[in-house]
Amino acid sequence: MAKKLPLEGIRIADFTWVWAGPYGTLQLAHLGAEVIRIETTTRPCVTRMLPPWPDGKFSGPNCSGYFNQYNQGKKSITLNFNHPEAHEVARRLIKASDVVTNNFAAGVMERLGFGYSEVKKLKSDIIMISLTGYGDTGPYKDFVAYGPAQVPLSGLSSLTGYKGWPPMHAGFSYADPNAGAHGALAVLMALYHRARTGEGQYVEMSQWECAIDLLAEGTLEYTMNGREPERNGNRDPQMAPHGNFKCLDWPDKIADLTVDRWISVVCADDAEWGRLARAMGRSELADDPRFKTLAARKSNEDELEAIVTAWTSTRDPKSAVEELQKAGVAAGVVADARYLSDDPNLAARNYFVRKEHPEVGVKQHCGIPWRMSETPCEVRSAAPTIGQHTDEVLTRTLGYSRAELDELRKKGALD
């Protein structure tokens, strides 16, 4: 008999949108929960409207690779809350659910009539989680948070950057998936508590705080020594070399974008430096007083990096990495999407997912970053088209008759 997925039978009324919340409920879907996204055609999820689109052509709210990545294995229903009937549908869904999730700004769920106190009346042991930018309390609770701005707000930007340069970004809205992953964990902990005690609860997150948890070394430098840490590029105080190094550059453009090639190289200790020196055919450098010890390598780091670059810059990234790893040196390709899509390790581990989607067909998507020996998790379906499961959820799960469904649709409550 096929094993059940870990969260099979757990239903989530998912009011989240954009990225942070959907990233969190994606983890729960990966674990087997039935995640039902409550959407509306009048204001589709931001990510449904963003690129990438198949061949670069926008063809409506079902074609976005962004949405289709982070909503795999979920269901979608559409409700227009301008109609009281839509509120009734949502109430019935909440009654039939274990968890209610949202990442609206503080107060939005209350205005919709789905604040925790209301939701709890519908189902006494409900678990409700809000992933807001600034939290439910405090003087900035009504401030607006947007994905990219959360990285500088968190403090990560002031710690990230080239030496002597202004603060830099992380390159993506990092605080979003971080909030989503921590939120998914919180839901699991609350489910565990409910399983033991029968008690539901409300859980609240400030995405800002959740991101500060990733930079304790920075805040502790300040609290212990009253100092702001200096930005120092890719370098590390206790490892050298430690960085990304340029490889053989052949003219390569994808669309209008220049693509160059880099690999990361790290030597964690003197022995690893010896292995790197030998792998580069420069065994004499292993015991060279300029590089023999960490302290020496840190004092001569510009020279050290120039030596590594001289070796990498005549090599193809993949073969350079293989050569270094064979010698026992921590190295890896600085992968972009093209490289990742064909990465031998990810391919061998069947990481990628290719499910049939009614509009975009079969596309390669990122999968589940864990494996389980007894309850193997899998992406069960491609991301839903908008409202794909409205009929199914209303009739099968919530007990609406076909006639009632038609009536709701005619009124516009299911837009």
């Binding site: 607006v144 002031s158 805040t219 206790q238 990481y351």
Partner: protein, 402 residues
């Protein structure tokens, strides 16, 4: 009130960030965690710092003290037969083992789920490794940067199209480790929910490379959908979304939607230049960024960070300060929410640490004890719980097993 996980017993065989962060997330919610460190040497995060007054000391490392709150600490060399036997006795009484021992070392020690399941069939064993426990790279070396880059994030960040010579830039700290930790904890809790239902333990494994690749926003899909990629040399499609220098620090100007820009223009007092057609929509502003950054930059340079931040937020424009560490520690908002927590540890003293990632109505996040000193609970755990005689304990200490 008890923590949500107060009935759970976890053994951690963890180094640096990923496994220690996973078990910290659970320890702070009430689980009992016995952390195993190498005798004499201890977790390498003890050597990372930061250290008070920059004096390196294994009991004063900020990173270690942060990542190991609420844990009991023992020392044990599991690579020795006597050490592994004691390890198995700890596992016999545990619900969960979380480790980040790399696969070649797992092979050397003989650390397999099958072996541990013989002493505890209900055990959940979570292995967090750089490249996964199988696959062609299982034995490859990696540090945090290696998998951050190989997972596809590093390529997105850098000096921009004007500075192709600057390398793809890593984000501060040990971000692969933190993400491996939180995703590892998610998978572990999933396995625990399955065990509540089925009564069976299992082996869970988490790949850091895959974890990073799962967080690439829309950028991975650019390849399968459009046969293009995103990288640090690409121009931004929308403006302004940029760090700019104000009078007293940096501020992040973030107007992704046109209506946000319109309201920022109002905040600026609707200057004439903002009416130019080249700034008429977010795409035009990106194409005219060279001009925009002069006008906008001049305005921003005359503002204070907090003043502009609050003025913009009052009109619901999502600007944000580029927070320094001092800004965070002194933030009126974070103070009102009680985010940073003071933790006293006998050797390192009392310091403020980042606090709860979430707030729970019924099951508190709380610091019950500071991070352990090296081997602090050897006697309590090996003597008290496993019943080792004092003489035997000393013998094992002298042999370097404990």
């Amino acid at each position: 009130m008890a923590g949500a996980l107060s009935d759970l017993k976890i053994v951690e065989l963890g180094e640096l960030v990923s496994a220690p962060y996973a078990s910290k997330l659970m320890a702070d919610m009430g689980a009992e965690v016995i952390k195993i460190e190498r005798p004499r040497i201890g977790d390498s995060s003890r050597r990372r710092g930061p250290f008070p007054r920059d004096e390196a000391h294994p009991e004063k490392s900020g990173l270690f003290l942060y990542l190991n709150t609420n844990k009991l600490g023992v020392t044990l060399d599991v690579a020795t037969p006597e050490g592994f036997e004691l390890f198995e006795r700890l596992i016999a009484g545990a619900d969960i083992l979380i480790h980040n021992v790399v696969p070649p070392e797992m092979d050397r020690v003989g650390l397999t789920y099958e072996r541990l399941a013989r002493v505890n069939p209900r055990l959940i064993m979570t292995s967090i490794t750089p490249w996964g426990i199988d696959g062609p790279y299982r034995n490859w070396r990696a540090e945090d940067l290696t998998v951050w880059a190989a997972g596809g994030v590093c390529v997105l960040n850098g000096g921009g199209p004007e500075h192709p010579e600057l390398p793809p830039l890593k984000t501060f700290g040990h971000q692969s480790g933190y993400q491996g930790g939180v995703h590892g904890a998610v998978a572990t809790m999933g396995a625990l929910m399955a065990r509540l239902r089925d009564g069976e333990g299992q082996h869970v494994e988490v790949s850091l490379q895959e974890t990073i690749a799962s967080m690439l926003e829309m950028t991975f899909e650019y390849w399968p959908y459009m046969k293009t990629v995103a990288n640090r040399l690409g121009a931004k499609p929308i403006a302004p979304v940029e760090t700019m220098e104000a009078k007293d620090g940096y501020i992040y100007i973030c107007c992704i939607e046109d209506h946000q820009w319109d309201r920022l223009v109002e905040v600026m007092g609707s200057p004439e230049w903002a009416k130019e057609d080249i700034f008429a929509d977010r795409f035009k502003r990106a194409a005219s960024w060279d001009a925009l950054k002069v006008f906008l930059g001049e305005y921003v340079s005359q503002q204070t960070v907090l003043g502009l931040y609050k003025a913009a937020q009052a009109k619901r424009v999502p600007l944000a300060p580029v927070s320094t560490m001092g800004d965070l520690l002194n933030s009126e908002h974070l103070k009102a929410r009680g985010f940073f927590v003071e933790i006293a540890q006998p050797v390192a003293g009392t310091h403020k640490y980042p606090g709860a990632p979430l707030k729970y109505e019924k099951t508190p996040w709380e610091i019950r004890r500071p991070a352990p000193t090296l081997g602090q609970h050897n006697e309590e755990v090996f003597g008290g719980r496993l019943g080792l005689e004092k003489a035997r304990l000393n013998q094992l200490i002298n042999k370097g097993v404990i």
